[in-house]
């Protein structure tokens, strides 16, 4: 029972971290209908920015977040404006291939610059933990989880309450109509991608703080997790990624407790496929995003 509760708690904080990775991914997917395979690469880029700041200036990773956010926003804006906008109307596998090529370029550049060693940002508190009853909760992961929740709530507020958020939603719903209303779709798409990249970078920073990262295996895993979470939670609702993240986090830790070997990965994929078949709009997503004809 203790073990189970511990797994539950650990899964919940892990889920928050995963949700932070997925929320930007699901935003771009929902608004532009682009699956960004370079999302993991952007997250790792953010992790390197924070790692460098920590290495050279001794900056705490939580204080580095604004710098990481701004840097990654700029990178994301340029990528969308200069590259992805060029093929935005193409069949889906073209945008998939473009972002795949992009991620190859980014990751190999990172690998050449920083080698493929495992890196981590050391802090005095990340490995400390406190105890509630019988459950052990690490400070670093809890902080990352709370940050993820705060950012998701903040993003939802931006999307529903500001002109920018309305412009983004409108462009996602009907680009033609949005442009007729005077919304600059190219700019809005670029801003959306920038926000997504910034969130990925922040998530990468958190991962670097509570665990370790490298440019070879981490990005692919993060992109795949973001995929699964976005589908689980559903598109068109900012809280979808949060719900999906918690479900995946808890399912993985509890599954890991009950099953041997890597069977838990097979179970995660089975859950994904069954969700897609039974409820393609995700747990709390909007049906509009699953029913449309895309190919």
């Amino acid at each position: 029972m203790t073990q189970f509760l511990q797994a539950l708690a650990y899964g919940a904080v892990q889920g928050g971290l995963l949700a932070l990775v997925a929320v930007g991914f699901s935003l771009v997917w929902g608004v532009m209908n682009v699956i960004n395979l370079s999302h993991g690469a952007l997250a790792v880029t953010g992790a390197y920015v924070a790692w460098l700041l920590n290495l050279h200036f001794g900056l705490d990773p939580f204080l580095a977040i604004p710098f990481v956010g701004v840097t990654l926003f700029a990178i994301g804006y340029v990528i969308q404006r200069g590259l992805i906008n060029l093929v935005i109307n193409a069949p889906i596998f073209l945008t998939l291939l473009l972002t795949f090529g992009l991620s190859l370029v980014v990751l190999n550049a990172l690998q050449l610059a920083f080698k493929s060693d495992d890196r981590t940002i050391d802090t005095s508190y990340a490995s400390q933990s406190f105890v509630i009853g019988v459950v052990n909760i690490p400070y670093g992961r809890l902080a990352a989880c709370l940050l993820a929740v705060a950012i998701t709530v903040g993003l939802a507020a931006v999307m529903t309450r500001t002109r920018l958020g309305h412009a983004i939603s409108a462009t996602g719903m009907d680009r033609g109509a949005a442009r007729l209303m005077g919304i600059r779709a190219r700019h809005i798409y670029a801003v959306t991608f920038g926000i997504s990249a910034a969130l990925a970078g922040i998530a990468g920073t958190m991962i670097a703080t509570v665990g370790s990262f490298n440019p070879t295996t981490t990005p692919g895993q993060l992109t795949l997790d973001a995929f699964v979470i976005s589908v689980l939670g559903g598109l068109g609702n900012m809280y979808g990624a949060l719900v999906g993240g918690f479900v995946l986090g808890v399912a993985e830790t509890v599954g890991g407790l009950l099953l041997t070997g890597t069977w838990v990965n097979a179970i995660a994929m089975a859950v994904l496929i069954v969700t897609l078949i039974i409820r393609p709009s995700g747990l709390i997503g909007k049906a509009q995003f699953s029913g449309r004809v895309e190919v």
């Binding site: 906008n85 193409a90 889906i92 596998f93 050449l112 990965n265 496929i273 190919v295």
Partner: protein, 356 residues
Amino acid sequence: MSTETASLAALLEGRRGSRNEQVTEWLRSRTLANSWGAAALVALFAAMLGLEQVIEPGTMRLLSAVFMFVALAQGWNIIGGFTGYASFGQVAFFGIGAYTTAVLMNNYHASFWIAMPAAIVGGVLFAVLIGLPLLRLRGHYFAIATLGAAEGAREVVNNMTPITGGGLGITIPTFGSQAPTAYFGKPGFYLAFLLLATASVALSAVLARSRFGYAMVAVHEDEAAAGALGINTTTVKVVAFAVSAAIVACAGALYAFQQIEFYPTDVFDSSFTVLMVIMVVIGGSGSVVGPLVGAAGLELLSQYLRINLGTYNQLIFGAIVVAVVVFFPQGVVNFVRDAWRSRRLSLLDNIRRYRL
């Protein structure tokens, strides 16, 4: 009969006559194109057979890989190009083909000539099993679901240690009396992969001109309209998926025998899927020549980069993929064909096509 009606009748008759002539003309040109295509394929096959006599074993191995990718790209093109369902789990069939072959040859001492058909059957069965529910999904959702199916298949193989050897890998016995089938060697595999590539191109060409091929394209263009025309879209999609799985599983079986020893992470590596997609898209999806050109061009290029650029090869490769997607979104073959027909060669037109 008044002269007016007579002339109208004559006009109608004339028009009908001219249309018949047009149809006949079209049929003739089609038959001509078909026979030219068949002749070109035979010539290419003969040239490759001749080439085998003059090249070194190392080059033979490289060209075997090229042939394998031609077959894989043709396989993906049937479901992704013609039918328009972008499968991102194609590597599952490759892995299932490889593991069926290895398990039969290693655990049951079966001959390769029994194991390979069994591998194809395995791939087809898996395609039908996952195709029936998943082909109801569209676009990204189908892509992800198939990706998930491939990842799941890998994990299952990874965890069935008593049968598949799990993460420790599996070895096909190839020496002495242990070997169920004598190892082909480099020339043997060159020939085997060449035959597979040729057969897949021929199959793709025959399918493209068949009633079934038109049904696949109709599903791609507009599924509802295809259904309204009386096409059983479910059957078309599942059969197309199964045919593409058969080609890929056969390639997987040959690859397994060629490698002798391999791990689940090798044959279920999703970068295989991505390569298939890139090759088809760069060559020109939905055509017969496109995947051939794309696979041969890209595999030769990536081998060249690997040999000559060392650590930078992946970086350059990624940059090339990005550039090709932006400049040739419809694929090289389709680009050349359109440029030939319209007598206009403009890269800017390509960029204008899909940009915002």
